[in-house]
């Protein structure tokens, strides 16, 4: 079902947690709310679930205003960060709970539990209690409880954050397949950009209660709307060089970069920040025309590639280099920036190209 947030705000006492948020989520879409802790993403999800009241604005599910509809009548399913499995019930009872409160007859209930358990490969756990399960298994049970009925949307609040790294990647893939199978609108909250990039049809990046950008993962990565989004998405983070625009060049005390083709709106003399992702910086050990001289600060071999941390004067940069790149600390190198991949941000941090 389509979900619309219309100018949603939320205050706790005097603190504003969500500020004038507007989002339109299409039917069947997988939307990830991404942001650092305290950005209001979880509060947004909880408002949609009805666990938190809305201070102002409207929330619509399938064109119906749900602000005043209590949680239990909103027909949503949610996976909590803590999984929130009922500790005194067996796994089968946990999964069947949404059907039990809807007074579905017990034979049908059993049948559905079995089907969902098979789908998530937890048939063998049905008679156990949550306490006897591992984190990954609990996660599956929480998912099973959510998908046993056909809710209007799935809400997921950092469902993978309590799993270890390997399991997280595995569950991430399974979640994606599951969502594609079920085609149910899903809203997923996380602070992990990898989850956002891999899972989402569209990502809503939030910061301090304000929506920064709502776009496809590719656009978020390639055309970040502002400096915050640029910095938050991507690992290692995007490099930023502060300077001043002067006759088609970006100048600061250490360097001067020719901006030949890059379209830039602001006038000569205005402050400008140049952003470039690590993979768009090429590091060479020999001098070349147009390359900037730099010193190696440190290199980190990742196995499949090497992160090269550089000093260009006082500017710290990080570049991605092939795994076989070797350089000593303080060794002089030359870096060239891919001029087609430059991002420019004005003094407020807003993208200007």
């Amino acid at each position: 079902m389509p979900i619309v947030f219309k100018n949603i705000s939320k205050q706790f006492g005097n603190t504003s947690v969500v500020y004038d948020l507007s989002l339109t989520i299409n039917d069947g879409e997988f939307v990830v709310l991404l942001g650092p802790s305290g950005c209001g993403k979880t509060t947004t999800l909880r408002m949609l679930a009805g666990l938190e009241s809305v201070s102002s604005g409207d929330i619509l599910i399938n064109d119906e205003r749900v602000n005043d509809i209590p949680t239990q009548h909103r027909d949503l399913a949610m996976v909590f960060q803590s999984y929130a499995l009922y500790p005194h019930m067996t796994i089968a009872e946990n999964i069947a709970y949404p059907l039990r409160v809807r007074k579905v007859d017990s034979r049908l209930r059993e049948e559905k539990v079995k089907r969902v358990a098979t789908l998530l490969e937890i048939e063998s756990l049905l008679d156990r209690k949550p306490k006897q399960l591992s984190g990954g298994e609990r996660q599956r049970v929480a998912l099973a409880r959510a998908i046993i009925r056909e809710p209007r949307a799935y809400l997921m609040d950092e469902p993978l954050s309590n799993l270890d790294a390997r399991l997280r990647v595995q569950m991430r893939g399974e979640l994606k397949r599951l969502q594609h199978q079920l085609r149910t609108t899903t809203i997923y909250v996380t602070h992990d950009q990898a989850e956002a990039m891999t899972l989402a049809h569209r990502v809503a990046v939030m910061r301090k209660g304000k929506l920064q950008q709502f776009d496809t993962p590719m656009n978020i990565y390639d055309r970040p709307a502002n400096r915050f989004v640029a910095e938050f998405v991507g690992s290692p983070s995007m490099n930023f060089i502060d300077g001043e625009l002067s006759h088609g060049k970006l100048i600061n005390q250490d360097l001067s970069i020719e901006l030949n083709n890059s379209p830039v709106g602001p006038m000569t003399g205005s402050k400008l920040t140049l952003g470039i992702r690590p993979e768009h910086i090429q590091v060479r050990r020999t001098a070349e025309v147009g390359a900037l001289p730099a010193r190696v600060y440190v290199t980190e071999l990742m196995g499949n590639e090497t992160f090269v941390f550089l000093m260009v004067g006082e500017n710290k940069l990080v570049a991605r280099a092939p795994a076989d790149f070797r350089a000593d600390e303080e060794e002089p190198v030359w870096v060239s920036l891919d001029s087609t991949k430059l991002h420019f941000f004005d003094s407020e941090g807003t993208r200007v190209n």
Binding site: R74, P87, V101
Partner: protein
């Protein structure tokens, strides 16, 4: 090596201190009046008699007192648990404006901050006007009121320790507030509920002051009053008192044993995350 020994020694002393008066009471209840006052006291070897038990429960009205005590204690405990648990849940889960929820909790507790005797005369006058003197109902009402603050504070603590996620998950799964309370929350605080119930039951069972003020007839008297009545102007009926006391221990003991498994967990509920 020494440590467990010391531990058991300390435990033995504690058990001894707790058990000797009970043992003494039991022996007195079974001794003839002559043996009761023997010097030096006879600890073990005496010829037992049940005359005090028959005296108390057949010749006197202790059977009736026992029934009254049982009804008053169990009904008042039940009432206090039902009302108090609902109040505690509300106070633990819902925020009222102006921090009223905390103020309300403190106000509830404040009803226990003065000596009980302060309320004895007002309660007597109220019960007289309501024509409830010498009724079990009057005791049930007073004991319920007296136990409520205790239940509210105990249960509020247990509820507060329960993660909110569970109820929220139940709501999202489509359950109502009250459904979530009964299906999810209460089963999980059952140990706390059991511990609270035992304390309430003990307090009501042993209560003396209000029972003394509010009841004078055999029909409404509770065990503690009946026992105290055996201290008369001319003699103290040790045998009857002990026999009644021995019987009075039984219901509480049975209940405590029945919920013992819960009791230990309830008293330490929340200490360890399960």
């Amino acid at each position: 090596m020494h440590k467990p020994l010391l531990k058991y020694l300390a435990l033995a002393i504690a058990v001894l201190c707790a058990c000797v008066p009970v043992y003494w009471m039991l022996t007195i209840s079974l001794k003839t009046q002559v043996d009761q006052f023997a010097v030096p006291p006879i600890w073990v070897f005496f010829s037992p008699t049940l005359e005090h038990f028959t005296d108390a429960f057949l010749n006197r009205s202790f059977g009736q007192y026992f029934v009254t005590s049982a009804i008053v204690a169990s009904v008042s405990t039940l009432c206090a648990l039902v009302i108090g648990t609902l109040a505690a849940y509300s106070l633990a889960r819902f925020r009222l404006p102006y921090n009223l929820d905390n103020k309300l909790s403190l106000w509830i507790l404040s009803t226990r901050m003065f000596p009980a005797i302060v309320t004895a005369v007002p309660l007597f006058l109220m019960m007289r006007d309501l024509r409830l003197l010498n009724t079990r109902l009057s005791l049930i009402v007073v004991y319920t009121a007296f136990n409520l603050p205790f239940v509210v504070w105990m249960m509020r603590g247990f509820f507060a320790e329960l993660p909110r996620d569970l109820e929220e998950a139940a709501l999202i799964d489509g359950d109502s507030r009250i459904g979530a309370l009964f299906r999810i929350v209460l089963p999980l605080v059952a140990p706390g509920l059991a511990a609270t119930a035992v304390f309430c039951l003990i307090v009501s069972w042993n209560e003396f002051l209000f029972a003394l003020v509010l009841t004078q007839t055999d029909a409404a008297m509770t065990l503690p009053i009946g026992i105290a009545g055996q201290v008369t102007q001319y003699e103290i009926k040790w045998g009857v008192m002990s026999a009644t006391g021995a019987v009075a221990i039984v219901p509480i003991l049975v209940f405590a044993l029945a919920v013992q498994k819960h009791l230990v967990r309830g008293l330490s509920l929340g200490a360890v995350k399960g």
